[in-house]
């Protein structure tokens, strides 16, 4: 009897220790890689071009009235946070979403954001923490509809946004521009995107459309079907999505046989991919894939933002890809200057400089350094291959 209890105790002790360890791991907060070297937050915030009170309809169809120009903003979504920076409102933010340290755009353009209290993620939103910040306006992803309702009851106006694709992102920009009284600046942002789209449309009309396979963040074999933003990105950059036949609305898993059957001419890795271009080139299963034999495997840059997602600077992903697919029609130097212009104008930092710095000064995002493929290096590789 005695012995059995001893064993039980020992077991229970082990269990507790295991749980303590796991709790410790869970409790560890993201170490924000905050650097003070980034540019200060962008200059002119196009204030006062709205007459308050303003009523807007958010992307959940709710009517929200904002009584006065909001001075204390909370953003619970990285896309809206990035947008608020672009609209020159970084200084008015008093709280942002969790894991801000993993977004290089913050440290590049508004490092002060990394010091702000976080209000949690879409999984676990911190209602009380958010209320404690006493915000004038809260912007949340549509997923946090319940939290929005509760905050509204507490008396805080909440905008729900859903920037799932290009059109919805445009709408998001318009709504937030109107609600924060920065309509002229948000219009400028939209105009920039429209201008680039028009430019590319003109340049690429009639051009050949190569087959492009876009590999997702988690593995080479996850890809975006035709219903996704990323598929749109490929066609706007003058390519055809190799996985267009897939109709999933989220990253779908395929197998090697399927990939070989599609035989894409280009393989593009998502910005935050956990694997590298080398991994793909060295993959024995892909030896005979057209993209691998011709060396046309690239990773979308993610030094500032993941351009393969509908962020305000998402157009830059299209601009970048157009130079990869059609270097003759869309020269890389043009693309590089467009990218430079965008970040100078809306985020107040120099992409090429920060870029050189980040490649010396890794990692901006912990754990992903091996996956980082700076824009310039990718170009260099391409030129070398072309020369060979």
């Amino acid at each position: 009897m005695k012995k059995r209890f001893g064993a039980t105790k020992l077991l229970s002790l082990l269990l507790v220790m295991a749980m303590l360890l796991s709790a410790g791991a869970c409790g560890k907060t993201e170490g924000g890689a905050s650097s003070d070297t980034g540019a200060s937050s962008s200059g002119d915030s196009g204030e006062n071009d709205a007459h308050y009170p303003v009523t807007v309809t958010d992307q959940a169809g709710r009517e929200v009235t904002i009584a006065e120009a909001p001075e204390r903003l909370v953003s619970g979504y990285y896309i809206s946070t990035s947008l608020l920076i672009a609209l020159g409102l970084a200084e008015k933010l008093v709280g942002i979403e969790a894991k801000a340290g993993s977004r290089p755009i913050y440290s590049l353009s508004a490092p002060a954001l990394l010091e702000l209290p976080n209000v949690g993620s879409a999984k676990e939103f911190d209602l009380e923490g958010c209320a404690a910040l006493e915000p004038d306006l809260v912007i949340l992803p549509i997923k946090l509809k319940e939290a929005a309702g509760t905050l509204e009851e507490l008396g805080f106006p909440v905008l729900l946004v859903n920037p799932e694709n290009q059109e919805l992102l445009t709408e998001t920009i318009q709504i937030i521009g109107k609600a924060t009284g920065t309509e002229s600046r948000s219009q400028a942002l939209l105009d920039f995107t429209d201008a680039q789209e028009e430019r590319l449309e003109g340049l690429l009309s009639g051009a050949e459309t190569p087959n492009v396979y876009l590999a997702g963040n988690s593995s080479l074999l996850s890809t975006a079907g035709s219903a996704m933003y990323q598929s749109d990105l490929i066609s706007r950059a003058g390519g055809i999505n190799a996985a267009a036949e897939i109709e999933d609305t989220y990253w779908a898993e395929i197998d090697y046989e399927q990939l070989l059957h599609w035989n894409p001419e280009y393989i593009i890795l998502a910005s935050d991919a956990d694997y590298t271009v080398e991994d793909v080139l060295a993959d024995p299963n892909l030896k005979d894939c057209a993209a691998v034999t011709s060396g046309n495997v690239y990773q979308m840059p993610g030094n500032a933002e993941a351009w393969d997602s509908p962020v305000p600077g998402g157009i830059l992903g299209i601009v970048w890809l157009s130079s990869i697919l059609h270097p003759d029609l869309c020269p890389e130097s043009d693309s590089a200057s467009i990218i430079e212009e965008f970040y100078e104008t809306f985020y107040g930092f120099s992409y090429s400089e920060s870029h050189a710095q980040s490649s010396r000064n890794l990692p901006l995002r912990p754990g992903l350094e091996s996956g980082r493929y700076p824009f310039v290096i990718a170009y260099a590789r391409q030129s070398i291959r072309h020369a060979v």
């Binding site: 009897m1 005695k2 209890f5 039980t8 105790k9 229970s12 002790l13 269990l15 507790v16 749980m19 303590l20 796991s22 709790a23 869970c26 409790g27 907060t29 969790a98 209290p117 976080n118 949690g120 993620s121 879409a122 999984k123 676990e124 939103f125 911190d126 209602l127 009380e128 923490g129 209320a131 404690a132 006493e134 997923k143 509809k145 319940e146 939290a147 309702g149 509760t150 009851e153 507490l154 008396g155 609305t249 989220y250 990253w251």
Partner: protein, 319 residues
């Protein structure tokens, strides 16, 4: 009486934790502002703190009591709501709710129906065995548990990994965060009624704990009464779990704690199991929302607080 003293002690502890819970949180709530009629403070207090505290205390109580009932009826010290498929049914139901409907209310209803559905299937399957043995319920429970897990897996497969899948995983981890005062009413009323029912049925629960032939010869219609007791206990658990997601360990640990402390199985012991459950869940929730800058799943702390308590009790018993 020893168990009266223990009950009083636990009630006091629970009351203290309720007070602590009402004044712990990220929002700097101040008593003078609250009493001074500050509208914002009042709303934070009512909509966030009070509802969360209520769910913590009552949910813990319900889990403790129903754990006591399951362990007694199944004569199995490891019995938990999972033994007849409540947890896995609720998980599958919640996953379906997250995928096909939107809104917390829909997920709550769907989880509740999932739990009841799973238990209904278990009890129907076990009725196929005409001898009406406990073991047939346990076997049917295992089968339905596996089936519900499969359904859950299929639902997870179709879920969008970043949003829906994450929501499903997080639901399964359980949390008292975001329970709103407006969605509580129905669940808490049902829970309260079922708890009263369980206390009234205490004598029958004890009769069911014996051998089946013996219970029958004491005039118990074993099949019917067992169905009644199990359904009541299941309704109790489902009403809580559908609000909070799965909460581990409370239903297992609280009854053991109560029995080890009192060494009997009176209605007082059942109440003590409930009180311990309330203390455990509320204590865990206070930690879950105050330990780190982000909200942590409450189950981490129920296990973390519960395991040493159980070990100390076992240690005391063996010495």
């Amino acid at each position: 009486m020893r168990y009266k003293l223990l009950c009083a002690l636990c009630s006091g502890l629970l009351a203290a934790l309720i007070l602590l819970s009402l004044f712990t949180g990220k929002y700097p709530l101040r008593l003078e502002e609250l009493l001074g009629g500050n509208e914002l403070h009042r709303r934070v207090f009512l909509n966030l703190r009070a509802s969360r505290t209520l769910v913590g205390a009552m949910g813990g109580f319900a889990l403790g009591v129903s754990g006591f009932v399951y362990q007694t009826v199944f004569r199995n010290p490891l019995a938990s709501p999972d033994i007849i498929g409540v947890s896995s049914g609720a998980s599958a139901g919640a996953a379906a709710g997250i995928l096909f409907f939107s809104g917390a209310a829909a997920v709550t209803v769907s989880a509740f129906l999932g739990a009841l559905g799973a238990v209904a299937v278990v009890l129907t399957l076990s009725a196929l065995d005409k001898t009406g043995r406990n073991s047939s319920i346990v076997l049917a429970g295992i089968a339905v548990h596996a089936l519900a897990q499969t359904v859950l897996m299929c639902l997870k497969l179709t879920a969008d990994p970043e949003r829906e899948l994450a929501s499903i995983e997080y639901w399964i981890m359980g949390s008292l965060n975001g329970v709103s005062i407006h969605s509580l009413g129905g669940n808490l009323l049902l829970c309260l009624l079922c708890l009263i029912g369980l206390f009234l049925l205490h004598r029958q629960i004890i009769l069911l704990s014996g051998e089946e032939g013996e219970a029958r010869m004491l005039g118990v219609s074993v099949g019917k009464i067992r169905l009644l007791v199990l359904l009541t206990a299941t309704l109790t658990v489902s009403s809580v779990v559908s609000l909070t997601g799965l909460i581990s360990f409370v239903g297992l640990l609280a009854p053991h704690g109560a029995r080890l402390l009192t060494k009997d199985n009176r209605p007082g012991t059942m109440a003590l199991a409930g009180l311990l459950g309330g203390v455990l869940l509320l204590g865990a929730d206070i930690l879950a929302r105050s330990v780190s800058a982000v909200e942590l799943p409450v189950s981490i702390f129920t296990s973390l607080l519960g395991a040493p308590f159980l070990i100390s009790l076992i240690g005391r018993r063996s010495s």
